[in-house]
Amino acid sequence: MDHINYIKEQFDQLQTAEAGSQLQAFRSKAFDTFNQLGVPTARNEEWRYTRIAPLFNNGFQLQENNLVLADVVTHRMPGHEKANELFFVNGRYSADLSKIISPSLQLALLEDALQGEHKELINTHLGHSAVYLRDGINALNNALVQGAVFIHVAKSAQVEHPVYIYNVTDGRNENVLSQPRSLFYLGVNAQLQIAETFITIGTQDSFTNKIMELVVEEDARLEYYIIQNDNAQSNLVSTTHIRHIGKSFSHGVTISLNGGIVRNNLNIVLEKAYCEAHLYGLYFQQGNSHIDNHTVVDNVSPNCYSNELYKGMMDGSSTGVFNGKIFVRQPAQKTNAFQSNKNVLLSNDASVNTKPQLEIFADDVKCSHGCTIGRLDEEGLFYLQSRGISEKVAKAMLLQSFVGDIVDKINIPAIRTHVEDLIAERLEYKVD
C-alpha cells in the first residue's frame, strides 16, 4: 500500500473511532489539504534543498505507545530530577511516563481541553502554524492529530522547574511515523523554560513530524531549547511556532548534532508592538546527515526587535541548509531585525546551501543580514600550532570557540553542560 492510501486508511479509522470528537472538523480540513498538496518535493521552493518525499517509500507505520519507563530511563536529560517531564511515545502523549511537578502548569489532552474553559483559546490558536507552512507535511500532522496535549501556564506563574519534552519513537521492530503535537499557552506575565529532545530506540527508520505551537501573552517570557542528537535512521521535521500576542519576550536555541534528514521550522510571529525575540542555532553535522533550518521572523507590529544567529560546522558528507526569512509588514515601522548565518566546512564532501531572505514593506526599519561560508581560520590554526598545540587539539579549540557563544545562550545550566559534553565528545576535546 502506498503512503497516500495508508494515510487515508488511518485517517478514516481515526475519525470513525473518535466520532463526535471536537477535532473532527480540524482533521478533515487538514486531510483535504494533505490530499491536495501531498508530501512536499523539491519543486516546492521551501523544500528545494531538503528531499523528504523519497523517505515515504519506507512504509512508515503509526504505532501505539508500547514503552515502559525502563526503556527510556537512560535517555532522560540531566537535571530531570528537578524538571517537569513530558513523554510523547510514537507521537502520543504518555501520561504514565510523564511527570508534572509544577502546580502552575496545567496539562490536558487536547480532546479533553476542548471540552473545558480554554476551548476558545485552543480554537483560536491550534493549527496557526499552517498559515506559515502551507505544505502537506504540516497538514499531515493536523490530519492525524491524536494524543496531543494542551499546556496552560497561569497568569503571572513563574514556573520554577523547566519542562523537558522527550519525543520518543520505538524503532525496534517497525518503521514508525511519530507525530507529536502540543499547544502551549503562557498567560500574562508568566515565565516558562522548555527543553526538548528526540530519541529513536532501535535501528529501524523513523520519521517524526512534530508540531509545537506556543502562544505568548503580554509580558510573558518564554525560553525554549531544542536538542537533536538522534541516530542516523531517524528523520525529523520539527515545527516550533511561536505567536507573541502581547508585548512579550522569547529566547531559543536549537542544537542539531546528529540525525538522518532533519528539518527545523521555527516561526516567530511578533504580533504586538515592542516584542523581542532571540533565535540561536548551532548545527554540527557529520556522516551523511542533513540539517535544514528554516526560520521565519514575521514583524507584524511596530517597534519589535529580533536577533538571529545560526552557526554551522559541516563534516563528513553532511549537507546543511539555512533559510532565514525576515518579514517586515507595512505597519511594522521601527523594526530592528538582525540575522546572521556563519558556516564552516570541515570536509571536502560537505556542502552548505544558505538563503537569508529579507522581505520588507515598511520604510522606517533597521534590518540586516549576513552570511559567511568558509574554512576554519588557517591563520589561527597555524598560530596555535606554532605554540606547540597539536593540529587536532588546535582545531577542536577553534571549533569550541566558534560555537561557544551559541551554547552559552542556553540558560538551563544542566542542559548547557549536557550540550557542552556532547560537543566535547564529538571533538574528542574538552575545554577545562
Binding site: 521552493e45 507595512q330 515601522q333 558556516n343 566546512l345 570541515l346 570536509s347 571536502n348 560537505a350 556542502s351 552548505v352 546551501n353 544558505t354 538563503k355 537569508p356 531572505q357 529579507l358 522581505e359 520588507i360 514593506f361 515598511a362 520604510d363 522606517d364 526599519v365 533597521k366 534590518c367 540586516s368 543580514h369 549576513g370 552570511c371 559567511t372 561560508i373 568558509g374 574554512r375
Partner: protein, 493 residues
Amino acid sequence: MKTELEINPTNTQIELDPSLEEVVSGEYKYGFTTNIEADEAPKGLNENIIRFISAKKNEPEWMLEWRLKAYQQWLKMKEPNWGNLQYPPIDFQDIIYYSAPKQKITIDSLDDIDPELKRTFDKLGISLDEQKRLSGVAVDAVIDSVSIATTFKKELAEQGIIFCSISEAIQEHPELVRQYLSSVVPVTDNYFTALNSAVFTDGSFCYIPKGVRCPMELSTYFRINAENTGQFERTLIVAEAGSYVSYLEGCTAPIRDENQLHAAVVEIVALDDAEVKYSTVQNWYPGDKDGKGGIYNFVTKRGICKGNNSKISWTQVETGSAITWKYPSVILKGDNSVGEFYSVAVTNNYQQADTGTKMMHIGKNTKSRIVSKGISAGFSQNSYRGLVQVAKQASNARNFSQCDSMLLGDKCGAHTFPYIEVKNSTAQVEHEATTSKIGEDQLFYCNQRGIDTETAVALIINGFAKEVMNQLPMEFAVEAQKLLAISLEGSVG
C-alpha cells in the same frame, strides 16, 4: 521566393501628439514616438512568421532551421512564475514580431538617413555623425526589430574587430555565429530564451580578435518605436585570448498605454586572459503613475569566462520597465577567472523588478563580486535574487556580495533572496545586506543647509549608488545619475 506576407506587409503610421510630448517631457523624456513608416509583420506567432522574419533577413537555411527548432521547443515550455512579480498573462499572439523602418539604409552613408530617424537619435542623445566620432564611441542603433546604423566600422575593421548587427554577422561571419550562438545561453534555458531564439530580429555582434584591446567603447542603443511590437534582440560578444572590450547598451521606448514585451538574449564569451565589461543603462518606459503601460523586460544575459584568467563584468542601472526580470550571470569556468556584477535598480510607482545575478564557480581560484543597490519608491516592489554556486571542484573560490536596499515611503517593498550553494570546503563566501531609508533627519539636515528636498534625495541616492556608478564609463555615468533623479521625482516629501 517571396512569402505572401512579404509581398503585402502592413504599413503603419504613428501619429505624434505634440501636446502629449510636452506634458510628459519632465517625467519620461524619451517617451516620444517617431513618425517613420514601418514595415511590419501581422500580429501573432507561427511558423510562417518565423519563415517571414528569416526571409526578410535573407538568412541561410541553417539559421531558419535553428529558429524553427527553437520555436518547437518553446511551444512545449511553460512561462516561468517563480519571480516575485505580478502581471496579467501575456498574449503571445497579440504581438508583432517584426517591425522595421521601411526605408532602406545603406550603412556606410549616414547622410542618407531619414531626417525623422536622425532626429530620433538626436533626442536620444546619440548622434551618428562626426560629433560622435570625436567622442570616440562606436554606435550600433536598433529601432524596433532591426539595426539602423553602425558607426566606426571601418576604423574598427583595421584592427580586425567586427562590430555589426547580428543579421549582418549571420550573412558575413556565419562560422563565428554558428560556433558561439547559444553556446552560453542554451535555446531552452528558459521560456523567453526559446522565444527569442525563434523570433529574434536584430541585435549586435562583436568580435575582438586575439590580443586586441578595443580602442573605443562599443555601444548599442535599442528603441522600441512601433505599437504592439515586441523587441527580441540578440547580442553576441566574443573576446578572443588576451583581448579587451567595453560595451555599452542603452534602451528607451515611447509612452504607450499597453504593455510591450522585450525579451532579449545577450551572450558573452571570454577566452584566456580576455576581459569584457558590459554596461547597461536600461530606461524602457516604466508605465504611468497608475501602473498603466510600460515594457515587460524579460532578459537573459550570461557570460562565460571560458579561458583561464578571463574576466567578465556586468554593470547595470535599471530605472525603466514596468517589470524587469533579469539576472546577468557569469559562468566562471576558467581557472583564476573573475566575475563581477554591479547593479542599481530603481522602482517607482507600480514598477516591479526582480533582478540579480548568478555566479557559477567551476574553475579553480575563481573570484566573484556582487554589489546590488535597490531603491524602491511609490507602490513598487524591488527584489534582489542572486545565486552564488561553488562547484565541488572549484577550489579556493571567493565571493563577496553586498545587497543594500533603500525604501522611500511605506507603500513599497524591498526583498532580498540570495541563494548560496557551496560544495567545496576551501570556498570563502560572504554575503551582507542592509535596508535603510532616507530619514526625515537627513532631509532636514540638507534643507537646513539650503538644499531643497528633491535635490537632497538625489544627493543621497547618488551617494547610496556610488559604488555602482563608479563602474560606468564616464559619459554613461552622468546620464545615469540624471536618470536616477528623474525616476524618483516626487517620491519623497
